[in-house]
């Protein structure tokens, strides 16, 4: 398994060149400059693929590179700083160096090595504190500056509405290689979808039903997002994944790298959800479901095409890498015609009915969005990720985590209790034993509990919940926790607006 970040080296000798490199991050300056250059719908005339949004790719690449650096430089910078521990005025100097290279400062007291601790646990504590600081900074940047333009959801919402969809709920696998699924792979604004990641895409059907009821109730009571009288549907999407380069090792850990099992399990969950709604709330309450497979080597997709009744079949799908190749040198409109006809053909060839026209249009749009991502991987990753395996920087548990939109940044599991989510976290801990623990680095776990800022008491309840989850994590992984190899930070967020995460004190 390759892991790009391990190859990074901070060159302290050259630090004057890099001075101030991170200092502007967190202010809107950099992003605004980039955004003003690209424009969200500009298509490159130089690309053989007419549907690729080259300027958007540039913007996304810039965000990915500079955000990942926030995390990847921590280890070498910290090690270098600590090698100067004996110098006079170390604490102040250390903080200066930290700010210079990573753009953050710690409390000066953090640089005091406790007499009772050893240099090993001292390093672990500092490492985690810096990871957590960087996360908070990233969150601030994400919500205040909207670097991915994800708060502008009007266009996407209209496209979904035209397809008869009023709400979108996506369950990708918790695997970090799917963390960019919404903003990168499908090029959707993050705010248009609710994401609930689970290992193996095995979402909690009862929780999804509760969520559906909340959304439907808002339609009845408040006409939000649209009036209940409109015959639109809730769309639940499940995303499994696989690797074509190394199928038996780099597939889904929760399903033992067995692609078929992964796809079947996600499909079964979707069916259960659909049936739970229909049987409990009657036929008028049908939901739409969508099953997608992601090749984590290069972000190409298998899109399972629903028939007229919305049913999917495991062996009835289109592959976006094929379509991308076939559409090379076509005009945009020719390519769109090709995609739509391939969607119909896919079903007809398997003796099934074609999907409803509005849904076909939606799928075709998602496929064209994915073309940009295919080009992204071709251009910036030579068509194949160097880190085809796990390379997550931290684990996120709880709900929300909208600011996590980058591949391999975070292993994210949606949960309310460790008791219910334990399988997900066990998988995450296993991954991080390989990534961090075996190299002496702690596993940083960020807990997130969202609250509703309109409701007094909601924040207090979120605080209690975050504390409960934090306690349960340490209790579950006591061995790692007791020797400092598992470190946690609780965070809260008022999810009624674009507000950054707050650290739980």
């Amino acid at each position: 398994m390759l892991n790009r970040r391990r190859k990074k080296q901070i060159e302290f000798g050259k630090r004057s060149q890099r001075k101030g490199r991170y200092q502007n991050l967190g202010s809107a300056g950099l992003q605004n400059n980039i955004l003003s250059e690209v424009g969200s719908s500009s298509l490159s005339p130089h690309n053989t693929q007419s549907l690729v949004n080259v300027s958007q790719n540039e913007m996304l690449r810039d965000y990915e590179s500079r955000t990942k650096l926030l995390f990847d430089d921590i280890e070498p910078v910290l090690k270098e700083i600590l090698s100067h521990q004996t110098r006079s005025g170390f604490k102040r100097w250390a903080n200066e160096q930290l700010f210079l290279h990573l753009g953050v400062k710690l409390e000066e007291a953090a640089w005091d090595m406790d007499e009772s601790s050893n240099s090993y646990s001292f390093f672990q504590d500092l490492f985690s504190q810096i990871v957590f600081k960087q996360f908070l900074r990233m969150s601030e940047d994400f919500f205040n500056n909207d670097p991915l333009q994800g708060q502008n959801r009007k266009e996407a919402e209209e496209i979904f509405r035209e397809a008869g969809i009023h709400a979108l709920d996506i369950t990708p696998c918790a695997d970090g290689r799917l963390a960019h699924f919404i903003s990168y792979v499908l090029r959707l604004p993050y705010s248009v979808a609710r994401r609930k990641a689970h290992a193996g895409a095995l979402f909690d059907v009862s929780e999804s039903v509760r969520n559906w009821v909340f959304i439907e109730h808002s339609r009845f009571r408040e006409g939000m997002p649209n009036n209940a009288a409109e015959p639109t549907r809730f769309l639940k999407m499940a995303v499994y994944h696989y690797s074509k380069v190394d199928p038996s090792h780099q597939g889904c850990a929760a399903h033992g790298s067995d692609d078929k099992k992964a796809a079947e399990a996600a499909k079964a969950k979707l069916q259960d959800f659909r049936q739970a709604i229909e049987n409990r709330f009657g036929c008028g309450s049908t939901v739409e479901t969508m099953l997608i497979g992601l090749n984590t080597d290069n972000d190409t997709l298998k899109v399972h095409i629903p028939n007229q009744q919305g049913q999917v079949c495991l062996d009835r799908y289109i592959e976006t890498d094929q379509l991308y190749s076939n559409a090379t040198n076509m005009s945009a409109s020719e390519a769109r015609v090709l995609i739509e006809s391939e969607i119909d053909n896919c079903n007809l060839q398997k003796n099934s009915t074609i999907p409803r026209p509005e849904l076909k249009k939606l799928i075709a749009w998602l496929v064209t969005n994915n073309f940009s991502q295919i080009q992204y991987v071709k251009e910036y990753e030579q068509g194949l990720y160097e880190d085809i395996g796990h390379a997550e920087r931290f684990i996120g548990i709880g709900n929300g985590f909208e600011e996590v939109q980058l591949r391999n940044l975070c292993y994210y599991s949606f949960l309310d209790t460790i008791e219910e989510g334990v399988n997900d976290i066990d998988v995450g801990i296993k991954i991080f034993k390989g990534l961090n623990v075996k190299r002496g680095l702690p596993i940083p776990i960020i807990i997130r509990c969202d609250y509703d800022g309109r409701v007094p008491g909601s924040k207090t309840r979120a605080v209690e919940k975050a504390r409960r989850i934090e306690k349960a994590v340490h209790s579950r992984y006591q061995e790692l926790s007791s020797c400092g190899l598992l470190q946690t930070m609780g965070t809260l967020r008022d999810n009624t607006g674009a507000r950054p995460a707050e650290k739980l004190i």
Copy 2:
């Protein structure tokens, strides 16, 4: 602390007289005879209190006595049987004796003492198995025969509807001395209310909001229980408790027997709930709340009277024991007038507004219902329970448990995970260390997960949930579990009808 059940002795010498005593339980015979005699609205002409339903009291007493015997005879019967372990044909004989005295049989293999176990753990296993068998039998009786006529909810529903209430959700304390609150203390049919018991009545506001959304959504979508256009409300009731005889020991364990704290905490939860709904879903979504205190010595009540805006105050309440005394020798209609005027006076004397007339009527009705219970305690318990302290027979965790409607039968905590409900169960375990463990008896814990029989997959999910909770209980109380002092049984129930609990195999 007195504990009636400890004084019971089974007289094996007299067993011929008792032959077959329990054999009819579970068939409708006994109940139907009783029911046909009493009629639900017969009022006794011989009682000084005109509002007391004497025949209902007789029916309730009969049910209480015979149901508690199912559990209280287990220890002496089992000990007596085991003292004959050396006789030939022991297993068959033991089962015969068990059936004769307790009306249940075990698998014959259960009477085989495993070579690896000792007589102590052998006894514990058998004891728990019999408790669980009796519970299943009780559940069957309850749902099949409706001994408390709790499936007939029409009249009560109409009274609530007239008061502008379309749904009732009650949170009593988890304490077993409140387990009969619905069917006995308030004389409501069990099926008219949803009960979610929590230690200290500290219910989960978020869960209650979710439940509210489900109910309101059904009104919009299905017109059930009534159409959303009707200006009715959801009523949430919280019930704290206290003891006047021994206030500093027999009050609420979760609040350190501090009555004021208990009342304040319940009131705060109600306010939080009300505010969460109003702030999240707008003013048209106001819920009704009601705060009641129960004196567990004799089942008399403090009913906190809401003002015109529905707000309650801790020191503004009526006491049903006072009202009961004052109404002695009055006619039913005089007594009703007295109660209603006392409700208004209560608020006027504290310079508050009187409650809405329809709510006053509802409260007055609940008070008259409580009069029957006051008389019940006077007649059958000499006005003061002998077991003024804890005397629960088992712990129930999960949801549902409608068949538990008897005082001190079960310590019941509503929960979805041990992680969230741990405070409740800790209190329960502490109680049972005193009741059972110190006498060498195991703590029997029954887990209940309801499912929706209309929804395929719902049962499977309930099975998984029950297993998860069962595992978490054993893990949390490992010390007790490992030496057989904590025993569990998982149960499921299809809550779409009057179906008994099913044992999880």
